[in-house]
């Protein structure tokens, strides 16, 4: 059983709720190593996405993700806007105008999002960025899909791997973005982008239950 536009819309709205809940946490994580705007920016973006979705009521999963992408790009400052915007845009492009997302398409979408983030931010694993959450998440999703998991199972596996990946950024020296200016002092801090990536995947997994 796949996801139609309606379920994808619900997943994005669920994500908006999670971002709102964790707004302060993300602000605090970013304050430690950056400019303290990640929680605020991301929340502003997702609030705008929910409004845009309500107005446009998109008819395909790809169209839902496209609205999310363009809204994030326009509304979210800092690195998160272009990065998440690109992730959603590549995911939307991958889906095209198909009406339903099955497990196979979901894995492709996650892979496309990861590749978009890597192309945009030029970060690799170990740079203490959202790539450290997204890369293991995509790998775990692929394994789960091969093992016969359904959409909820694939997303749950991805979210769990993203958690572990995000936690690994605590021990890393940040090599991208504002945090990279801190050098060794960035060690001991959870990367806010990696954390928000894990949160979003958890929200999607929750919505797919």
């Amino acid at each position: 059983m796949g996801c139609m536009a309606e379920q994808v819309t619900r997943a994005v709205i669920e994500a908006a709720g999670v971002v709102a809940e964790h707004r302060s946490e993300l602000i605090e994580l970013d304050r430690a190593i950056g400019d303290a705007d990640h929680g605020e920016n991301l929340n502003r973006g997702f609030v705008a996405i929910v409004e845009a979705l309500a107005q446009a009521s998109p008819q395909t999963p790809g169209a839902v993700l496209k609205i999310a992408a363009t809204t994030l790009i326009s509304k979210v400052g800092g690195a998160a806007g272009p990065l998440y915007g690109t992730a959603f845009l590549r995911a939307a492009t991958k889906l095209g105008d198909r009406s339903e997302v099955d497990v196979e398409a979901l894995v492709e979408v996650l892979r496309a999002a990861l590749e978009g983030v890597q192309a945009r931010g030029k970060a690799v694993e170990g740079d203490a960025t959202m790539v450290d959450a997204l890369l293991p998440a995509v790998a775990a999703a692929e394994v789960a899909a091969k093992g016969g998991a359904d959409i909820a199972g694939v997303l749950a596996a991805a979210a769990e791997a993203a958690d572990k990946g995000a936690e690994s950024t605590v021990d890393l020296v940040a090599r991208k973005g504002r945090a990279s200016y801190l050098g060794e002092r960035a060690i001991g801090h959870l990367d806010p982008g990696a954390r928000s990536t894990a949160l979003l995947l958890h929200a999607f997994a929750e919505a797919a239950q």
Partner: protein, 228 residues
């Protein structure tokens, strides 16, 4: 028409100030500042960058320069989503030096590739080029600087502009240091002052024209803008 420039910065003031500085050396180039957020805050705004690229493009394309990390992402995303992504290039260059070098190159009527390469090379100041190979076409002239500021920013930019587009390799030497006349920064780094004697050497088909133009410029105390 020239290549246009877009300056993507987290700060509106920074982008505007830099556009002002570069415009002094390149009065005919469209240099559009795209800095800050719509509410006046610090950040980069995708919509503003897209609009700036459209304003900067007079048909010869656009080169975008940026200050910090996410400004690069916003710039690249803006270019990717243009109706013709091949009409604009984001260049990794020092923001100030790269913008000035690109502006001067664009002012000379250079192609977009030459403009972004000028910006990219601006990070590597060529203060000490190896001596030019002696060829029959090498022409040399010694000139004394009489203007107040020597080869400071504006005169250096004028000098680079006056030889840009000529089929000639031109070098300027002051004592032990040699700079390519194409590079405003290298020229400035010579530190040539009022009263200094510089050596102008040129090779290539239009070597004579290049030396003549530099001489005319120096003798006019950098007052007369060169004919383009």
């Amino acid at each position: 028409m020239t290549v246009g420039l877009v300056l993507v910065s987290h700060s509106a003031k920074l982008a505007e100030g830099l556009a002002e500085l570069a415009a002094q050396m390149a009065p005919d180039v469209r240099i559009i500042a795209a800095g800050g957020l719509p509410d006046g805050g610090i950040g980069t705004d995708y919509d503003e960058v897209v609009a700036a690229v459209q304003r900067a493009d007079s048909g010869d394309g656009v080169v975008l320069l940026y200050d910090l990390g996410s400004a690069q992402m916003t710039a690249e995303l803006a270019v990717e989503t243009l109706s013709d992504p091949d009409s604009a290039t984001v260049v990794d260059a020092p923001f100030v030096e790269g913008t000035v070098a690109a502006a001067v190159m664009a002012q000379g009527g250079a192609h977009r590739v030459a403009v972004w390469q000028a910006a990219a090379k601006a990070g590597q100041v060529e203060g000490d080029l190896p001596p030019m190979e002696l060829t029959p076409a090498l022409l040399c002239s010694y000139l004394t600087l009489h203007n107040d500021v020597g080869l400071h920013a504006r005169p250096a930019a004028l000098l680079a502009r006056t030889v840009a587009g000529l089929d000639a390799e031109v070098q300027i030497r002051l004592r032990d240091h040699t700079a390519s006349a194409n590079s405003v920064l290298a020229l400035m780094s010579l530190g040539a002052r009022q009263g200094d004697e510089i050596e102008v050497s040129a090779t290539g088909e239009q070597a004579q024209e290049a030396v003549d133009r530099v001489r005319a410029l120096v003798e006019s105390n950098f007052e007369v803008p060169p004919a383009t």
